[in-house]
C-alpha cells in the first residue's frame, strides 16, 4: 500500500530554532506539494515541485522558508529561524502531473 510518509510527526521547538521537515513521496510520482493548515487560513499551498524542479513557491515566506528536493525520494521544508506564527500542521502531498493528490499524515509544528 503506497503512502506518502512525513517525519517528524510532531515537533516542538523554541522561537529562533531551525526546523526541518521531511517527506517521502509515493514512488513514481513526479509532483510534490507542501501545504500548511491553520485554523485561521485553512489549507494553503506553500510550494510545489515537478520532476524535482521547483515550479511555484509564491506561498512561502521567502526570508525564512526554503523547500528542496535533493532526490526523487525526498522533499524537505526548512524554517530558519522559526517563529510562533509558524505553528501549524504541514502536509506533503504527491501525485502524477495534475491528477489526484495523495497526502501524508502531516507534521504538527509548535513554536514556543
Amino acid at each position: 500500500d503506497a503512502r506518502v510518509t512525513q517525519t517528524p510527526r510532531h515537533k516542538v521547538t523554541e522561537m529562533g530554532q531551525e526546523v526541518t521537515m521531511r517527506c517521502q513521496p509515493i514512488l513514481g510520482h513526479n509532483t510534490v506539494f507542501w501545504y500548511r493548515q491553520t485554523m485561521m487560513q485553512g489549507l494553503e499551498l506553500l510550494a510545489y515541485f515537478r520532476n524535482r524542479a521547483p515550479l511555484d513557491d509564491s506561498g512561502m515566506p521567502k526570508d525564512r522558508f526554503s523547500a528542496e528536493m535533493p532526490d526523487a525520494t525526498l522533499a524537505t521544508l526548512k524554517i530558519q529561524p522559526s517563529e510562533p506564527r509558524d505553528s501549524a500542521v504541514y502536509f506533503c502531498a504527491s501525485g502524477l502531473g495534475g491528477g489526484t493528490q495523495y497526502f501524508g499524515p502531516g507534521t504538527r509544528l509548535t513554536v514556543l
Binding site: 485553512g42 515537478r50 511555484d56 500542521v89 502531498a93 491528477g99 489526484t100 493528490q101 497526502f103 502531516g106
Partner: protein
C-alpha cells in the same frame, strides 16, 4: 486567484441520513478534487472530478464545470463519515498545472 466557497459550513446528521455538500468556484477549472479529513487529521482523496459524475460506494460526486459548481453526495451516512470535507480546484497549464486552491470545508458530524 480562484475563490472556492463550500456550503453548508457545518452539518449534523443522524446515522443513516443522506446529505449533499456543495462547492462553488469563481472561474473555469481543469482540476477539481474532493477530500475528507478525518478526526485524526488525515486527508484522504475521495474523487478527482473536473467534470461529470463518479460514484464510489455510498459516495458520489458531480461537477458541472460550465456552471462552476460541484456536489458531493453521501448516502446512508455512518459515524465514520464524520470529519471535514474539502473541495479543491485548479486551472491553467504549464507551471500552474496541478496547483490546487482549497475551500474552507464543510464540517460533518454524524451521530449514532
Amino acid at each position: 486567484g480562484i475563490q472556492v466557497e463550500q456550503s453548508p459550513p457545518d452539518l449534523i446528521l443522524q446515522e443513516g441520513a443522506n446529505s449533499t455538500l456543495r462547492c462553488n468556484f469563481s472561474d473555469s477549472v481543469n482540476n477539481l478534487q474532493w477530500f475528507h479529513q478525518n478526526p485524526w487529521g488525515q486527508l484522504i482523496n475521495l474523487f478527482y472530478i473536473p467534470s461529470g459524475t463518479k460514484q464510489n460506494g455510498r459516495l458520489s460526486a458531480t461537477t458541472v464545470a460550465t456552471e462552476r459548481y460541484s456536489l458531493l453526495y453521501i448516502s446512508s451516512s455512518q459515524t465514520t463519515d464524520s470529519g471535514v470535507y474539502f473541495c479543491a480546484v485548479g486551472k491553467g497549464g504549464g507551471t500552474s498545472y496541478g496547483k490546487l486552491t482549497f475551500g474552507q470545508g464543510t464540517i460533518l458530524t454524524v451521530h449514532p
